[in-house]
């Protein structure tokens, strides 16, 4: 083994296949797309160099910033909806009781469904005419609360946000449950001997000990929230009238619906910068917090 590590040739040889695929299919296209950001290109005719015009247009487009706000909304409800919900369920289901396995499976199930299936399922459930939600409301005499959940511009984003939480809280439940099971039992036992109650144990032992997993979950949430696309796209396609537009949908529409490939590339670069900043920022914030604890 040592011999192999000493000989750098073999390390390179071993990494080469994966690395070359990665460079060819990921790194190279990303760099290419950054260059296209400086061109006006409709995909059909020759690209024209336009300097920073695309970036200026992206940054001054109200629809883009509206989409950015929607992304932030998704990130916020993901972080403060999915993680606490996942944590509570993880703590509850970590105890061994009858049916715990069943509930774990049930809560994790949305995760295994394909996003398109989830999108179509909820589009039907939330449909204003034939959907279960409105029919239920009508049957229990609350017909006045029935809405076109995905068709009203003030409501659509909240409906979509709810579905996003529904789909992903199971993931964080599993991640945090795995972390919980890594806490040595002895710590709890000695805490109990010292007379610590349930809440004290939760806040002073459990949370600090799984803090790194929570941090990882937050990063996952932010990254997921910033790049959300498929679920919203199947449910609303960013509509009605941009009310559920997200940055990725905005980029898709500009690139593949209006065929402005250069502009779309510029948008993707801006999304990259914004998401990256947010993740770095959140990591800095969280690591300071963990030092305080």
């Amino acid at each position: 083994m040592d011999l192999i590590f000493k000989n750098k040739k073999y390390i390179f040889l071993g990494l080469f296949p994966a690395l070359s695929l990665f460079i060819f299919f990921v790194v190279y296209p990303i760099i290419r797309s950054f260059f296209y950001g400086f061109y006006d290109w409709n995909g059909l005719s020759r690209p024209i160099y336009v300097g920073l015009a695309n970036f200026k247009a992206v940054l001054s487009d109200k629809v883009f910033w509206h989409a950015f706000r929607n992304n932030i909304f998704i990130v916020v409800i993901s972080v403060f909806g999915q993680i606490p919900l996942g944590l509570v369920l993880a703590v509850l289901l970590n105890d061994k009781f009858r049916g715990a396995k069943f509930f774990r499976f049930i809560f994790f199930m949305p995760m295994i469904l394909s996003t398109v299936v989830v999108g179509l399922l909820w589009s039907t459930i939330l449909n204003s005419q034939v959907g279960i939600v409105n029919n239920l409301l009508k049957n229990i005499g609350l017909g006045s609360l029935a809405h076109d959940w995905l068709g009203e511009s003030g409501l659509a984003l909240y409906s979509v946000g709810f579905v996003i939480i529904w789909q992903f809280f199971g993931l964080y439940m599993i991640i945090l449950m795995a972390a919980l099971q890594n806490i040595p039992k002895e710590v709890f036992e000695s805490a109990e001997l010292d007379g610590a109650g349930g809440l004290t144990k939760l806040f002073h032992i459990t949370l600090p000990m799984i803090w790194s997993s929570i941090m990882a979950s937050v990063v996952l949430c932010i990254a997921g929230g910033m790049k959300t696309f498929d679920l919203v796209f199947t449910m609303t396609q960013g509509g009605p009238a941009h009310s559920t537009d997200l940055m990725a949908i905005y980029m898709y529409n500009k690139t593949f619906e209006t065929y402005k490939y250069g502009y779309g590339s510029a948008v993707s670069l801006v999304i990259f910068v914004l998401s990256f900043t947010l993740i770095i920022g959140s990591r800095a914030l969280m690591s300071r917090k963990s030092a305080d604890l």
Binding site: G43, L44, S123, S128, Q129, A241, N253, F256, Y259
Partner: protein, 423 residues
């Protein structure tokens, strides 16, 4: 060892490669959108099978892509420089974009060599695929985009006459709403239906036919911000506010909306001629028996209230990069699928024909198809917005119509945006 393998591999490649080229069969890839709910799905399957039988030396590698994704996929392939050898294109704007980028091979030679075929077409079928004197395809049928299908039994039940003016339409909407009937079944989730099936005709009623040409050519001081165009956008908002459509029209698509009409829950449905085959296949007989076809009422504008919107059907075009043998084979296929034998099949699939005259016995064909033929004879066609506008303007009007209808944007903002994009 490794080197030996490489040699062996190369040897195989040479042998295998030459075996393929020695084969005398011509092979070409074909992308089309005639699939699923599209009325031409069965027609295409029928024609491809017949073509394969008649031409054993030509192999077609077929790719079916649903209409809503088709243009996106095709244009992405165009951007990547790897278009299929033959593919379906839309007339006017899309054909112009592709032709100007040098992506298409013209079929002028083919037309000149076969004058009987060429002269049988109604002019629209070739003109709308002609750019700077070069023709790139021949339209398969005609698409009417703004047909009002209405259930005369529902109209009779509530004692409403089919509206011929905007005022009458408003009255009818009120009566139906009072009685829990959806006035007009409509689905706009894909965004193009509002523009293609309602607005194109409605705007023409307000502005007249010459205006849109003038705006696009920047002639006669015509602008998108002109009052009649704004007025048309306002009417779209009014229709929404009056409750003319099913409430969930923004969350269902133009196929799902038909359910309301088929179930007798809607008095009218606005859709293209392409809805006819689906209707005949899926609507109950009682609804079919009571269905009539009509054009939009008179909205009191500058336009001729007799016209309806429509374009040539899509057609098959040849990739400029195809090999000469492939080009010849595709040309054969274009002639086959748009020729007389195929045109005679159009009535079977309820597609309006794109030949000037195919003798059709009105008594043996479906009565609804017969009504559609009468509609075409009586009402001249005017262009559809997404056929006349480039992709960027089309996207603005598609988005904008939804925003205006649900009160998220003002008509003048949409008009300003369109005018600014034009420059």
């Amino acid at each position: 060892m490794f080197k030996r393998f490489l040699w062996l591999f190369c040897l195989f490649a040479v042998v295998f490669g030459s075996a393929v080229s020695a084969d005398s069969k011509v092979k070409f890839t074909l992308w089309h959108s005639y699939v699923g709910a599209d009325q031409r799905a069965e027609f295409m399957a029928d024609r491809l099978a017949a073509f394969a039988k008649a031409n054993p030396d030509i192999v077609i590698d077929e790719q079916q892509i649903p209409r809503d994704q088709y243009q996106t996929k095709l244009k992405t392939m165009a951007a990547a420089g790897s278009l299929p050898d033959a593919f379906v294109i839309w007339p006017n704007a899309m054909c112009i974009e592709f032709a100007n980028a040098g992506l298409l091979a013209d079929i002028n030679n083919l037309l000149d060599k076969n004058p009987v075929w060429k002269n049988a077409f109604s002019p629209r079928a070739l003109d709308e695929f002609t750019v700077k004197g070069k023709t790139y395809s021949a339209g398969l049928g005609v698409s009417l985009t703004s047909v009002i299908y209405y259930n005369k039994a529902i109209f009779a039940k509530y004692n409403v006459k089919f509206p011929t003016t905007y005022a009458e339409l408003k009255d009818a909407i009120q009566v139906f709403n009072k009685n829990g009937i959806i006035p007009i079944a409509f689905g706009n989730k894909p965004l193009w239906p509002a523009q293609s099936t309602i607005f194109s005709c409605l705007a023409n009623r307000m502005t007249g036919s010459q205006w849109l040409n003038d705006v696009l050519a920047k002639k006669n001081n015509a602008k998108f911000t002109d009052a009649p165009f704004i007025q048309a956008l306002n009417i779209m908002k009014e229709l929404n506010d009056l409750g003319a459509f099913n409430k969930d029209y923004n969350t269902i698509d133009n196929v799902q909306m038909r359910r309301y009409y088929y179930k007798g829950e809607a008095a009218m449905m606005i859709d293209g001629s392409w809805a006819l085959s689906d209707m005949i296949a899926n609507a109950p007989q009682s609804v079919l028996d009571n269905t009539e076809l009509a054009v939009f009422p008179d909205f009191g504008g500058k336009g001729d209230p007799k016209v309806m919107s429509g374009v040539s059907g899509t057609g098959i075009a040849i990739n400029a990069k195809a090999s000469p043998a492939q080009k010849e084979a595709i040309g054969k296929f274009i002639m086959f699928i748009s020729g007389e034998e195929s045109q005679r099949l159009f009535p079977k699939y309820y597609i309006p024909i794109s030949f000037k005259s195919i003798p059709i016995d009105r008594k043996t064909i479906n009565p609804l198809y017969a009504k559609m033929l009468t509609l075409i004879e009586e009402h001249p066609l005017i262009t559809v917005y997404d056929s006349a506008l480039n992709s960027e303007l089309t996207s603005i009007i598609n988005d904008g119509l939804q925003a205006v209808m649900i009160g998220q944007a003002k008509p003048i903002d949409i008009a300003n945006q369109m005018q600014a994009t034009l420059k």
